[in-house]
Symmetry: C3
Amino acid sequence: MKRFKNRDIIDINDFPREELLYILKIAKKFDPVFVKKDRSNYTIAQGKIAALLFFEPSTRTEQSFRSAAQKIGMGTIGFNDPEATSIHKGESFSDTIRIMDAYADVLIIRHPEAFSAKTAADVAQIPVINAGDGPNQHPTQTMLDLYTILKQFGRLDNLKIALVGNQKHYRTMHALSAAMFKFSNNKIYGISPKGLEMPAEFKHANYFDEPIDMRKLNRKLSEIKPDIIYAGRIPKEYMKGDVKKYSYQIDKETLKCLPKSTVIMHPLPRVNEIDPEVDASPAAIYFTQARNGLYVREALLTLILGRI
Amino acid sequence: MKRFKNRDIIDINDFPREELLYILKIAKKFDPVFVKKDRSNYTIAQGKIAALLFFEPSTRTEQSFRSAAQKIGMGTIGFNDPEATSIHKGESFSDTIRIMDAYADVLIIRHPEAFSAKTAADVAQIPVINAGDGPNQHPTQTMLDLYTILKQFGRLDNLKIALVGNQKHYRTMHALSAAMFKFSNNKIYGISPKGLEMPAEFKHANYFDEPIDMRKLNRKLSEIKPDIIYAGRIPKEYMKGDVKKYSYQIDKETLKCLPKSTVIMHPLPRVNEIDPEVDASPAAIYFTQARNGLYVREALLTLILGRI
Amino acid sequence: MKRFKNRDIIDINDFPREELLYILKIAKKFDPVFVKKDRSNYTIAQGKIAALLFFEPSTRTEQSFRSAAQKIGMGTIGFNDPEATSIHKGESFSDTIRIMDAYADVLIIRHPEAFSAKTAADVAQIPVINAGDGPNQHPTQTMLDLYTILKQFGRLDNLKIALVGNQKHYRTMHALSAAMFKFSNNKIYGISPKGLEMPAEFKHANYFDEPIDMRKLNRKLSEIKPDIIYAGRIPKEYMKGDVKKYSYQIDKETLKCLPKSTVIMHPLPRVNEIDPEVDASPAAIYFTQARNGLYVREALLTLILGRI
C-alpha cells in the first residue's frame, strides 16, 4: 500500500481494493455511529489550511468539504464564483494554482473540464483533491458511496446493485460501477431508457444492461430484487422521441415490489426521481449517504496531511 | 424552565420572562464590559459547525453570527446568495435543509418567507435559529434589544419607550413591543405618521398610539420624556400624500428636548433617521446595541449546543 | 520604535527603517525556510476575529490574509462583493466600518478610493490594515517585497533594482522605490516606455530614469546588470502611438543577458510580461514572493494584536 501522506486524490481507479478499504476503515473513526464519544477531532490538523478552488459552483460538495476540514481543525480559504476563472484578467490556470498552492496545505479543486485536477496536481507542491472534473471523476463521491454500502451491509462483496437512470453520461455511476468490480461477486444491472446504457469501459463480466421503457421500472426491479437501488437524474437534453419512456419515480408502489432489505441511494440533489413520501422508509438512505461524505472527507484530509 | 440544549430559536414569543432573563444573564458572560479577563471562550464549541443558510443576503446579521460562532470556536459553512434557492436546480427547500443538517451542528436560517424557519426546524434534526423570516420574526434581534436595555438601565421594568417610525410594518418593533409587556409597568408610545400605527396584536394595555406629523417629533418627545427612543426607517413605499409628514431626523435639537438619561436605539442600518452629529452623545447607544448582538448570539449558540 | 499593539497599518511611509526591519525579523518566525519545526502558530490569536472588508474584489490579497489569519488561529468574517458598498441601502461608509468594528478584532480593508483606509482607521476602535486603497497604498505588498529581497540577498542595502514596466501609475513600484531609499546605497533604474516614468515624489538621488523602446529591454538590462528585476504590467489604456514600443516579455533570451545572481520579481498576476519558460529558472522568485506574503501578514497580525 502506498503512503497516503501528500498523495493526490484524482481518480478512483488510482486506488486498489486494499487502499479503498483502508480509507473506509479510517472514515469509521469519524462516524458517530461507530465512535460514540467526542474524539476531539478538531485537534488533528489545527493550523493547516484547505483551499477550495471551485471554478464552477457546487454548493453541496463545497459545504461538505468545508465542514470536514473545519471539523478536523483546518482553516478554509477559496472561491466558488464561476467568474473566478477570469477574475485575474489573463492569468493562466497554472498561475492561479501555484498562487493558491503558496497559501494552503491542501487544494480541493472543482472544475468543468476533464483532467483539470490532474493538471493542478502536476503544478502544485501540496496534495490536490479532485472534487469533480467535469464529465470525468469525483473520487470522494465514489468513496462515500462505497462507505455507505459497507456501513449498510457490512461488506462490499456479493451485492446486487440496480443503477437506475442515465448510465451513459453519469460520472457517478461510471465510477461506482468500475469500483464495485474491484470486489468479489457483485452484479450490476443498468436500468436505463434505451440509448442511455453504460459505456463499455465501465462494465465488467457481471454487468447486465437492462434498457426499458422506464414506466416499467417497478416490474423490472421486482424481477432483479436488488440489494441496492442507485438512482439518478435523466436530464432533459438526453431525452429523445417519446419523453414518457424516460420518466420514472421511485414511490411507495416501488417499495412494495422490493425485498425488505433493499436500500435506495441517490447522490442528490434529486428532482422527481424519488417521491418524498419514500423518505420516511428505512430503505431511504440517501440523506445518510450525504452525511457519510463528511466522514470520508475528514478521513482523506487526515490521511493526506499525514496525521494518522 | 425548558432545557436549552438542542432547542430551536424560532419566535421570541416561545420564551417566557424567566427564560429571556436567563439568556441575557448568560450573554453577560461574553461581554467584556462585565467579564474583563480573557475567558478563552474559543474552547467552548471547538469542532462544532454552524451552517448559515442565507436565502436572502443580510450582511450585518450574517457577519454577527459568523463572528459569534467562531469566537466560541465553531467552524462556519453556508451561503448568502439570493440565487442559492435555485442553485440546485429543482431541489426542494426541505432537501436543502436536510443536506445542510447532515453537515452541521446548528442551522442559522434567513429567508424572505414567514414561517420558513419553523419549516426548517421541523425537518432538521439539529437545532435551528431563525435569523429573520421575512415579515415575521427575528428573535435574536429582539434578544439583543432586551440585552441592550438591561445593560443600560439594569432593569427591564418601569421603562418608558418611544418607538419612532413605522410601527405598522416593522418586525423589530412588533417583537420588541410584545416582549416588553412580559415585564412589569412598561409604557410604550408609538410615534408614527398617521396610518403606520402598531397592529393590535402586538399592543398591550400600556401601549399608547401617538400618530403625528413627524415634523413635530421633538415636541412630542419632550412631552413623553422617554427612557428609550427606538428609531427605525420609514421606507418610501409606505409614504402617502404629503411626504414631508413622514420625514424625521433625530439631531442635536432633539437631544435638547430630552432628559439627560434618555438613550437612543436603532436596529441599523440607518439612513437619515439619526444625524451623525448625534453619534458622539452618550445617548447614542446604537453601535453598542449592534455589538451586544455578538454576546447574545455567543450565549445562544453555547446554550443550544449544551455547552453551559 | 513605536508600539505595534493596536497600531493601524495604512501607509508604508509611516514606518521608519528600524520598524520595517523589525516586522521582517518577526516574519522570519513564520517562514518554514527559517523555522523548521512546527511552532503551533495556531494558538497565537485563537478567539480573535479578522474582518476582511473588500469593497472591490482582490482574490489574491484576500486569500493571503484569510490564510494568514487562520494560520495564527483567528476566525475570519467579511465580504468581497463589489455590491457590498451599496448592500445596506443608503448606509454610509463610516457606519459600515463602525458595525464591522463591533464584530471583529482587526479590520482589513480594500477599497477603490485613495485614503479610504485612513478614514476607516479614524472611525474604528480596533486596528485597521490597508489592503489596497486604489492608486495610493498597499503597504503589506511593499513589506512582502522587502522581505523577499532580504530573504534572497541577506540585505536591503547596496542593491541595483531595475523596475520594468509602467512606473507612472503603478502603486507597487511607487512604494517599493520610496521604501528602498530608506536603506543605504541602493540604485534604482526605471525602465519604462517614454511617458511612463516614475513621478518625482517617489524618486531619490539614486533613481535613474531609463525610458526606452521596450523591444530593446534585453540590451538595457545587460548594461545595468541589476540584482533584481521587478516587472509589472503595462495596461493597454496607457499605450499611446506605436503599441509595439510598449510590449515586452522577459524570456530565456533575457536570462542570457543577466548575471547569474539576478532575480526576477513580479507582484502577480502576470499576463505576458514573463514567459512561463522562465519559471523553472532559479532567477524566478515571483511565486516565492507571493508565498512570503503569508509570513509577513501573519507577523503583522500577531504584532498588532499584541501577541508578541
